[in-house]
Every structure is written in C-alpha cells, then in structure tokens.
Point group: C2
Chain length 160, copies 2
C-alpha cells in the first residue's frame, strides 16, 4: 500500500477519534444540564439499557457495569435516588439484593436527549443507499473489533 493510501486510512482513524470526542461531549452536556457527573450518566445509561432488555439491574450488577466498588455504588445510588431518578426496590425473592428502577421523568429525559440524537443520526443517513450502509456497517464492526482488542489487552501486534 503506497503512502497516499496509508495516509487516507490514517485520516479515517483521526476522524474516528474526533467523533469519539464529540460523542463524549454529548454525554457531558446531558450531565451538565441535569446536574449530574459522568459516572451518574453512565449509570443511568446502564440502567436504561438493562430496562430495555427487560431486566432490572441490582446494585451489584450496576457496579460491575460502571466499574465501581460497592461503597461507591451505594453513594452513586444515594445520589440518583435523592434527585428522584431511580428507586431502590428490595428483591422479594432474595432480600439481600436491591433492584433499581428508573423514574418516568428520568426515562423521559434520557429519551429526549439521546433519542433526539438517534433520530437525527438516522435522518442524516437517509441519503445513503443500503449498499453504502452495508459497507459502513462492515467497517464499523471491523474497527470495533480492533479497538476492543486494544482495550482488553495490549498485544504487541494483532494476533494475525
């Protein structure tokens, strides 16, 4: 591959990084608007995702999802509960466990903020053909695979 082709590919990597920065900024903005910190937002997203899958997250599983110790999860849920975004619900089957339920207002706020972004993204894709989006999809999956490998462990080079 000649230099020109390599450089074009490197630029796509930089574009990806720029997109990453802006996407993080969207989350930061949601946090600012609602008086939350980044961890709180990550937690709400995790709870929403779980709810969408039909599961009710427990305190422990939330801690795994956002990588926090139990003491921090307690403080985190205290904060979210204090402002009314989540509710603690003791599991009747295993009363050690504490389920987490999102309030309707929190669900609505999240849907408005992130749902609006999703809607606009879909709108911006209207002009693309199915074939073009298939290419994009394959590319995204390939890039995600590479990135995930780097995120988990640091191989000197990809196990080719």
């Amino acid at each position: 591959m000649d230099d020109e082709a390599t450089r074009a590919r490197q630029e796509l990597g930089l574009l990806l990084r720029r997109l990453n920065v802006e996407l993080d900024a969207v989350g930061q903005r949601f946090a600012d608007v609602h008086g939350l910190n980044r961890t709180d937002v990550r937690a709400l997203v995790a709870i929403m995702d779980a709810a969408r899958r039909g599961e009710a997250l427990t305190a422990g599983r939330l801690g795994e999802a956002v990588d926090l110790r139990s003491a921090s999860v307690t403080a985190l849920v205290d904060r979210l509960e204090r402002v009314g975004h989540v509710r603690r619900v003791r599991d009747p089957e295993d009363r050690r466990r504490v389920g987490l339920e999102m309030s309707q207002t929190a669900m609505a706020a999240g849907a408005e903020h992130f749902g609006g972004l999703a809607r606009d993204l879909v709108g911006a894709m209207e002009g693309y053909s199915d074939e073009e989006l298939a290419v994009v999809r394959r590319w995204l999956e390939d890039m995600t695979a590479v990135i995930t490998r780097h995120a988990r462990a640091e191989p000197p080079s990809p196990p080719s």
Copy 2:
C-alpha cells in the same frame, strides 16, 4: 423510509455507541497501565496533539482544552511533572506564561499505545477499496456534524 430501513440505520447508531465505549476503554487502559486518571490522559493527548502541530501548550490553553479551572490545571501539571511526563518551561518572551513540554518517555509511551492502535486500524482497512473508504469517510463526517450539533447546543430538532 420503511421500518426495515430505519431499523438498519438505528443499528448503525448503536454500533457507533459501542465503538465509542471501547475507544474510551482504550484510554482507560492507558491510564491504568501508567497510573494516571482520565483527566491526565486527556491532558497528555492535548499536549501531544499541540506538539504535533508545532505549538507548545501553555497552562492556560491546556485548561481550555480539557475544561478545567486554573487551580485544577496547576494540580494537574503538578501531577504530570511529579511523575516526569511533562516539564514546566517559563516563556522567555512573556514570563507570566508557563509552557509545557512532554518528556521523551511520555511521548514514547503514548506513541506505543495509541500509535499501535492506529497502525492496527490502518491494517484492518487494507481490504477496503478507495471507493468504499470514501463512503465511510463521508458517513463519518456527516455523523460527526450531527453529533457536534447535539454536543454544543440542544436544538429541538436539527435546523433543516
């Protein structure tokens, strides 16, 4: 646009979010390995980017780049200087200003971690034709524009 087409586009949005999470994890991993926090990593990246552009970041500009007040920037630079990643250099022309220079070891560490990722990403793009990558590029730019608009201000809907 029918439901099937819309759903395919929504899935690309989810793929993008997943990629974002993994990319953040790469930065987190760099932080873990080197005993830094996320802010420190963001600061080092900002300093590296500036250095690549041939500029030496001052303390104030670094604060703007990572969105921290001056008190926090002082503490931040103290941390980075203490472990030898950056050096304070008084600007001889305006001695109020403090320039920041990255150490060779820090540059090398960053190049190894993030440069390795960049190399692998380029490698994963080898199988794509120029035309395919042009589509991907256009798509990335379009998506970044939409995301940036949401990150800066929250319009009820894109100003179409």
